[in-house]
Amino acid sequence: MKLKLPAPPIPASLKSPPRRPDEERPSKVEGAKEAGISAVDWVDERTSLSGGVRWMLFRKVPRGTNWAYTLGSATMFAFLNQAMTGVFLAMYYDPSATNAYESARYITNEAFLGEFVRGMHKWGSTVMVVLVFLHMGRTFFWGAYKYPRELNWVVGAVLLVLTMLMSFTGYLLPFDQKSYWATIVGVNINGTGPLVGPYLNDFLLAGPDFGATTLSRFYAIHMLLVPGLIAALIGAHLYLVARLGTTAPPWLKAEKNPELRKESV
């Protein structure tokens, strides 16, 4: 038996008009598409985002843009990989001096796909460092840091420093021999700065020696402070790229518009 529910009390103005006899019944796909478009329209009506997105996506990139121009986005992608795998590692990791190694061992040897995810994080950092340097080399040799992109170079240089800071703080977390001694050396390098060095060491180690809260301090810097800064600066970097446009390869000379040439003759 078919149960017929009463129609909801929708005002007549909101009801879609009845289909005309000569009109075709819309297909399922059409209907889904329609629903998607109207949902996007609903959001756009309230945010006016479409203008910005259109500006970002359909701006032109200069003629001659080649594979060397993908190094920046590749670096960002490596960073996203780090962020993603880092979140999953954080679910198992315990940043205490007594348990850190045990939790790293658990991730590596026992957690399902643990070594794979940790490997992605570890090798992702190497790949990211390589890509950062390649990206910087391309920018340097092709003179892409010159007017009007000076500020973007500075933002990029800060991102380089932050990336190195990420590798340095991440180093300690597995808490094996290599981590521990590399961190000791790294921290003591800071200590050789006159006047402020010793205090910087105290701040980093959270005390006079490697202590109970040193690891959690490095952990907080590694997964909250620096990634936040990196994400914000990547946003600024990208905005400037979109605003100023990516450079063309330096060897490329603009051909004068043929019509303009005709005029000048």
Binding site: A97, W181, N188, G197, N201, F203, A206, P208, F210
Partner: protein
């Protein structure tokens, strides 16, 4: 002239084409509101930042208690040979708080006369004073050797070569109930004079002791 021009200026923002001016807004009102924004913003910002900063740098001012640990009977240690001993330097973090020191009896022919009650035994830290790597004592060469950047120290822990900036740090030692006990760490300059503990890589000869101050709460033992 200048005075006249200032007088001629209108007191309304609209007349001075200040951005965002509206009917009837005076310059002083705009100034007052701008000042309010800056002052309250600064207070709110400081209220977030200062406690966080204090919390982060608090450990700098934490005082480390003086603790002594027995490492063996007095007869175990001779004047010519170092014996490595493991003991706890930082409490509460298990094995990670442990450290190794090379210990021997005070040797008058090398070290000169004994300075005080903390000097009957020499306990030398294994942290290289270049950047903190673990040094190893080679008894054949009578040298401490750092595996990282090539630091070498002689029998007394004084620098014999490579980049280290000062002799190896030492620990206070004392004798209680026939046992040798090790206490807090201290640093020494090239003449082996005692200083409050510094980090590796920080010279304390000459002007160094002022360029690289120790923690405000880390002091030498009294009367030492």
């Amino acid at each position: 002239m200048a005075k006249d021009r200032r007088k001629a200026k209108s007191k309304y923002t609209a007349d001075r084409s200040i951005p965002g001016a509206f009917e009837g807004e005076t310059v002083t009102r705009r100034r007052f509101m701008t000042g309010t924004v800056h002052a309250s913003g600064a207070i709110a910002g400081a209220a977030i930042a200062l406690p966080a900063l204090g919390f982060a740098i608090g450990p700098v001012f934490e005082k480390k208690p003086v603790q002594w640990e027995a490492i063996g009977p007095v007869d175990d240690f001779g004047p010519d040979e170092y014996i490595p001993k493991v003991f706890t330097e930082t409490y509460g973090i298990g094995d990670v708080g442990k450290t190794t020191a090379y210990v021997r009896q005070h040797n008058e022919s090398i070290d000169g006369p004994q300075k005080d009650e903390y000097d009957a035994f020499v306990a030398i830290s294994t942290k290289c004073m270049h950047l903190g790597c673990p040094v190893r004592y080679s008894s054949a060469a009578e040298r401490f050797i750092c595996p990282c950047h090539g630091g070498v120290y002689d029998f007394q822990g004084k620098r014999a070569g490579g980049p280290p900036v000062r002799p190896l740090d030492r620990f206070y030692t004392r004798i209680r109930n026939g046992q040798v006990e090790v206490g807090p760490r201290y640093s020494v300059n090239a003449e082996l004079r005692r200083f409050s503990p510094r980090y590796p890589g920080e010279p304390i000869d000459g002007i160094g002791q002022y360029l690289y101050p120790s923690r405000p709460t880390a002091r030498k033992l009294p009367n030492s």
